[in-house]
Every structure is written in C-alpha cells, then in structure tokens.
C-alpha cells in the first residue's frame, strides 16, 4: 500500500507516534496505518529509542475474563462505547482517546493500567468478530465483558461479587502493611 496523499501520511505518522507512546506493538500500527513496515520500525525506534518487541500478539479471549483484567477491560469498553456514541471522531482517534481516559481513570484508584493498549485493541477486534460481548450485572447494572453466547442470566460482576483473594496479591499486601506501619510510626 502506498500513500498518495502527503497530508494523509502526515496524519497517520502523527497518530502512530501517539500510539507508540502509549505502548502499542508494531502489529497494531501495521493494521491501523498504511505506512510501510520499514517506516514504522524507524518511527518506533525514534520514539522509544529501542527496537519493537517481536513475537505474536496476545490472542486469548480468556485473559479478559479473569478478575482484574475483566474489570479493567469492562471499564475501557464502557468508555469506548460512550465515546463511539457521543463523540464525532473517526475510529482510531476514538480508540486513542478512550485509552487515555481509561489510564487516567485507573490512576485515580491508585492502580496501574492492567490493560495495555495492544490488549485493548485486541479486545475491540474480539468484539467486532463477535467473540465477546457485554452483559449487565444483576446487582449494580453495570456492563461487563464476557464470552459471546455465554449463559449469563444471573451474572454478577467481579466488583459486586469479588472472589475472596481478589486484589490481595503479595505486592498489595506488602504495600498495605507499609502504609499501616507508617501510620503507626506517625501516631507515636
């Protein structure tokens, strides 16, 4: 594919830079732009200062179902759907903006974005391919990501019905203990 228009090319380079900054993999860029692979690699090296990582993209739908990833991908999906309905921008701009809003939202809760931009993009592809869908939680009414055609008459989301060990990874427990100790030290 060759670009005829210089303006289109400039525009594509611009949003490619945006995507690379957000951590997009090369395959994503190749799909979303008409720029050649060589140019994309050069661009990637210039922006990140290193070669793009190799290997296949994550391709499992199951990843989006486990606890933390499910909440994060549901949040992203809700934002994306809102943007798609209400903002008159093209698909890639809507995607970039939604991802930025998602990372911002997660940081308010003091967490790291679990969903990488490449995963978010793969998630959208799963939705387009009708491999995944959203369903309403019967308790809070929020929409959450599930496999397509799953039986979900009495679906309860991961926040209303958190599994007992949810959010209690080793790292989190150590961090909580540290803040607790700090609180004690300040009290004395």
């Amino acid at each position: 594919m060759r670009n005829k228009s210089v303006v289109t090319e400039a525009y594509q380079i611009q949003f490619s830079i945006e995507l690379i900054k957000l951590g997009a993999r090369l395959q994503l860029l190749q799909e979303e732009t008409a720029l050649s692979r060589e140019r994309l690699i050069r661009l990637y090296k210039e922006v990140r200062g290193k070669s793009p990582s190799k290997g296949m993209l994550p391709y499992s739908t199951d990843w989006f179902i486990s606890w933390a990833p499910n909440i994060h991908s549901s949040l992203f999906m809700n934002i994306y759907k809102f943007m798609q309905e209400n903002v008159g921008k093209n698909a890639i701009e809507t995607f970039i903006k939604s991802y930025q809003l998602y990372t911002e939202q997660v940081q308010i809760d003091g967490e790291k974005p679990v969903l990488s931009i490449t995963r978010a993009w793969v998630l959208l592809r799963f939705f387009n391919a009708k491999m995944m869908q959203v369903t309403e939680c019967k308790e809070c009414g929020g929409e959450f990501v599930i496999h397509a055609n799953e039986l979900c008459k009495h679906y309860l989301c991961g926040i209303c019905h958190a599994p007992s060990r949810a959010g209690k990874s080793k790292k989190n427990i150590v961090a909580a203990a540290a803040t607790h100790d700090m609180g004690l030290a300040m009290a004395h």
Binding site: I71, D109, G142
Partner: protein, 106 residues
C-alpha cells in the same frame, strides 16, 4: 443563609461551572464530552458561548448543573462509603459511562 445570599451562591456556582465546562471543551473536546456526560451537539453549543452569554446564563436562580447518578449508583456509593471498597472509582466510572449523554431536546 437568606435568599439573597443563596442566589448569590448559586450564581457563583453557575458561573464557575459554565466557565470550567467551556474551558474543558475548548482544551480537549472528546475528553470533555466524556467527563461532562454531554453529546457532541451540546459540546459545540457550550464551547461556542461568548463571555456575555455565559454571564447571562449564570445569572439565574436555578442551578445549571445537576446530579448525574441514578438511585442505584447513589445507593451503591452510600451503602459502602465507609468500607474500604475495592476499586470504587472504577466501579462508578463503569456505571456512569453506561448512562446516556445529555442531549439537546429535539
């Protein structure tokens, strides 16, 4: 607080709300639409208001902003507000994003 004071407070709140909304729309339209929960048409309208129009709108005895939660969301927040709730902001963002955006009446 007497009525005159109340009116003044409302007008001040209105003015800062309108100014903030317009600023948000002018800086980053797509983000503002999400954060304010309005649609594109409304964003264009508010973004295009002149300072005089803003002042005129703000000088009302009604508040221009309103609560965006429905009962369920509100209930969810109230029932658990003193517990250390898992991902509370994320949860409310998921519920909030599902709600339809404010639109101009046809």
């Amino acid at each position: 607080m007497n009525t005159a004071q109340l009116h003044q407070e409302i007008q001040e709140a209105n003015l800062s709300y309108m100014l903030l909304a317009r600023q948000m729309i002018q800086d980053d339209e797509a983000g503002a639409i999400f954060r304010l929960g309005i649609n594109q048409e409304m964003a264009d309208l508010i973004g295009g208001l002149s300072p005089a129009q803003l002042l005129k709108m703000a000088a009302s005895n009604m508040l221009l902003c309103r609560f965006r939660f429905d009962e369920r969301l509100l209930l969810n927040m109230i029932t658990d507000y003193n517990e250390d709730r898992l991902m509370a902001h994320t949860h409310s963002a998921i519920l909030m994003a599902k709600r339809p955006a404010e639109a101009l009446a046809a």
